[in-house]
Subunit: 93 residues, 4 copies
């Protein structure tokens, strides 16, 4: 399993790339590029955000939720509920 | 927490309701109803499937994944990976 | 372009198949099958509903919206607004 | 109906706001903020991208697709197909 520093670095790189996609969109709008090409680029940025959130979520389940489960008690149930709510927001966004 | 029999009964009820929505769609298509009304009903059925999958997933995290975490070992990691993959399929469906 | 009868038949076939998937889900729940397998089947049914709605929408744009555009006037704008709202509901469902 | 300059300005403002959300995410990752809070912010940015794409699409249907429909011929059908494909990418992203 990769360590915290590696994951943090990867997440930073992913987000910088997504920021680049959003700036690319600004250029496309500014240059009056064709709507469909802009929409294709929006779909790409949305997919990249999705992938980012899915890897973040996997990390969260593997660490925070697993640790809470090992400690047990109401905290464990609360963590599962919290993760499930985050998944629901993700699915509906 | 509701027991297994209650959850199973609720899931069966939800799915029968969704089956009813799909049959309703068949009637709408058969009666040549207006496309937009059919699309609204498709969105409702999709939302119902989403809610069903989200509650199934929450159950899975609270039970199967939590149990695997308590046992520990490679099985625990495998369960988190499996759940994450299911979430990814859900988000992209 | 396929005629109305062909499209109607195809739509009916698609929906019967989706109804079959929902019944399959009921069986899986009834037989206490593994959550992840049920979730995979839910994702498949959701994808099938998505495809159905996308082809319905394409038909709608090609016929109802195009006809309204040719007639012109406020009706034309209303049809585009109505279709856009349906797309928004679809995307968020 | 708002004119081209107004829409272009609004689109630019929306994208700058989304860029701000992505930079906010970078800060959150850099400061090791809680995963669930980061996920909530990802959902917000995804929703903002969705809204942007939906308004872009409505514009496209109201102008480019409507103009092609009025001209008629194969170009009209091609525009509907192209828009439908963009909607499909959007729905699946």
């Amino acid at each position: 399993m990769p360590g915290h520093a590696t994951i943090k670095h990867d997440n930073a790189v992913r987000l910088r790339r997504i920021e680049g996609q959003i700036r690319g969109l600004q250029r496309m709008v500014d240059e009056d590029q064709y709507c469909i090409d802009i929409l294709t680029q929006v779909s790409a940025a949305t997919s990249a955000l999705r992938s980012f959130s899915l890897s973040l979520l996997e990390e969260h389940l593997a660490h925070c939720v697993a640790e809470a489960t090992l400690k047990g008690g109401p905290e464990a149930k609360a963590k599962v509920k919290e993760a499930s709510d985050a998944i629901a927001r993700l699915v509906r966004s």
